[in-house]
């Protein structure tokens, strides 16, 4: 082992980073994503001007205004979307898709998706947002099941593919992803 004191001030990392080509790249790219908050058409027009004419050198920086968990509108105010049924040739359901990820978690271990308030999904999120976890989770981990007309929030944590979407999008930040037992999760090949 080499002699290295406990490093306290590592600011040299950011100094080097700010002088590198990564910083320059990110600086030129900075206005593209926020411009799409004005919609596709305006976003494209602005990006054309910003990227083709000015090559990212416009003298101002657009801001991101909201965190992603703050953007959902109330379910009863927004249109329902009618998705076509999978044909099992070109389009598929979540169950057969998750199967292909090879994901697995040994059962009988603590659930690695922690709810700050276990009642919240049924008490609040179901009513207000039609519990969007049923839809944003790409692995079908979250389900609302009904038993004798009573709604129940079910977490099929063994199906989780560690994408972190729930941790980001849950409108009340009620879900926290923590590490499961070692080796759990998807088994991707050449992804």
């Amino acid at each position: 082992m080499i002699t290295l004191k406990r490093v306290k001030n590592l600011s040299v990392y950011e100094e080097k980073f700010n002088k590198s080509w990564v910083y320059k790249e990110l600086h030129e790219a900075r206005n593209v994503k926020p411009s799409f908050s004005w919609g596709l058409i305006l976003g494209i027009i602005f990006t054309g001007i910003d990227q083709i004419l000015f090559r990212g050198k416009l003298p101002f920086t657009l801001r991101h205004k909201h965190a992603d968990h703050e953007t959902l509108k109330m379910a009863d105010k927004m249109p329902k979307i009618d998705y076509p049924k999978p044909d099992n040739i070109i389009t598929f359901d979540k169950t057969s898709s998750v199967y292909l990820t090879g994901t697995n978690h040994t059962d009988n271990q603590p659930v690695h998706l922690k709810l700050k308030d276990p009642e919240l999904p049924i008490k609040y999120t179901l009513d207000k947002y039609d519990e969007p976890a049923q839809r944003y989770c790409p692995a079908g981990v979250y389900e609302v099941q009904y038993e004798n007309d009573l709604a129940k929030f079910v977490i099929n944590s063994q199906n989780c593919i560690h994408c972190k979407t729930c941790d980001i999008k849950e409108p009340s930040q009620n879900i926290t992803w923590v590490t499961p037992e070692g080796g759990g999760g998807p088994k991707y090949g050449n992804m």
């Binding site: 040299v12 990110l26 991101h64 076509p84 590490t179 999760g185």
Partner: protein, 361 residues
């Protein structure tokens, strides 16, 4: 039962392109440095999901001879298309009118998971100790509040948290510097950002969800080296997103869809948008007669510079997508993640030199 303690110079959490690049660069700069890397997946690469059209800039710097070393980078981008999709029709946008950031002719179509496996081989050959199957579950702090290292997850707890017969406590890994490289929305990174208030003065972070399927398609529909992106249908005009279609080796097509997680309609199902996208005639005719062989999804970090947190704190660094170094208009984060990891290694080595002089904090 107390936990076993292991001491290292540097502990790296996460075996993606950023963490592996830090490990390699550290050893290249100083072969005597002790480096350990933890990965939660059962093997390096098994939790990596990415497009991936790869810009080699950072790799050229790390291994100028990557071709001789047989890096799994073969398919050069040979053709590009950009389509605006309407419900029935599509409109092709001339590539010369695309911003430079969306032009890919110098890049390669690769499997990032396989590149990580190759990087891990290089790292091990340089003497990095890699522990796959060991998630870092807890951050350890010194009394003065600086980061001391991490602990790995206990094994053999039951649903209620009681010890089963198979119980094995996690290990403590102590380091002079701990480098967090967990990728987008790392759960320890999230804790550090909060504890050290690293996002102070920055815009809220932005994310997307990215899906990917690998298809083996009919030979007549395959054009190795073709890179295609689409915008528009099936998303409404207020939802940010689009598809990627990369024609890789062996008649494989890497097909994916990214949707901004700032979408507003709670009824929207990103998975079903992706499935529906494949029914567009322009896409369907390419897939017909083919077979889907893989599926997966992973969040992407999209906030860029405005949302990039402070990336250092006492005893630790944040690198790659754990910090948020992805270039959104390029939808590329691998080369920037690698470069941020290499810079972290240089900074650590510089600091060692500094530390040999009287240390000023």
């Amino acid at each position: 039962m107390s936990r076993e303690v292991m001491e290292y110079d540097v502990v790296i959490v996460g075996g993606g392109p950023s963490g592996l690049s830090t490990a390699i660069k550290l050893k290249q700069l100083n072969p005597d440095i002790n480096v350990c890397l933890l990965e939660k997946a059962s093997e390096i690469g098994a939790h990596i999901l990415s497009g991936n059209v790869f810009e080699t800039r950072a790799l050229d710097e790390l291994f100028p001879n990557w071709k001789e070393l047989n890096a799994p980078i073969q398919t050069k981008v040979s053709k590009e298309k950009f389509l605006f999709l309407g419900k029935e029709k599509s409109l092709s946008w001339p590539t010369w009118l695309l911003p430079k950031v969306q032009q890919n002719h110098k890049n390669y179509i690769i499997s990032l998971a396989n590149l990580c496996r190759w990087l891990a081989e290089q790292a091990e050959a340089l003497g990095v100790e890699i522990f796959p199957g060991f998630p870092a579950s807890e951050i350890l702090y010194h009394d003065d509040g600086s980061v001391k290292g991490v602990a790995t997850q206990d094994m053999g707890l039951d649903k209620e948290g009681n010890k089963k017969d198979s119980f094995e406590p996690g290990m403590e890994l102590h380091a002079k510097v701990t480098v967090f490289a967990e990728g987008c929305r790392g759960h320890l990174g999230k804790e550090l950002i909060k504890k050290f208030d690293l996002s102070k003065g920055k815009d809220p972070q932005q994310y997307g969800i990215g899906f990917k399927e690998i298809w083996e398609v009919n030979e007549k529909n395959h054009e190795e080296g073709l890179v295609m992106h689409t915008a528009g249908w099936p998303l409404d005009k207020n939802t940010y997103g689009g598809s990627f279609v990369y024609h890789a080796q062996n008649k494989q097509v890497y097909l994916g869809y990214v949707i901004g997680l700032d979408y507003q309609n709670p009824h929207l199902s990103p998975f079903d948008e992706f499935q529906r996208f494949k029914t567009h005639t322009a896409i369907k005719k390419m897939l017909e007669g083919g077979k889907r062989i893989s599926y997966g999804a992973r969040a992407l970090i999209e906030g860029g510079l405005q949302s990039l947190p402070k990336m250092y704190m006492p005893g630790a660094l944040l690198i790659g997508c754990d910090a948020g170094t992805l270039n959104m208009p390029k939808i590329k984060g691998s080369h920037t993640a690698m470069k941020s990891g290499m810079i972290a290694a240089e900074a650590i080595i510089d600091h060692i030199k500094e530390s040999k002089k009287p240390l000023c904090l």
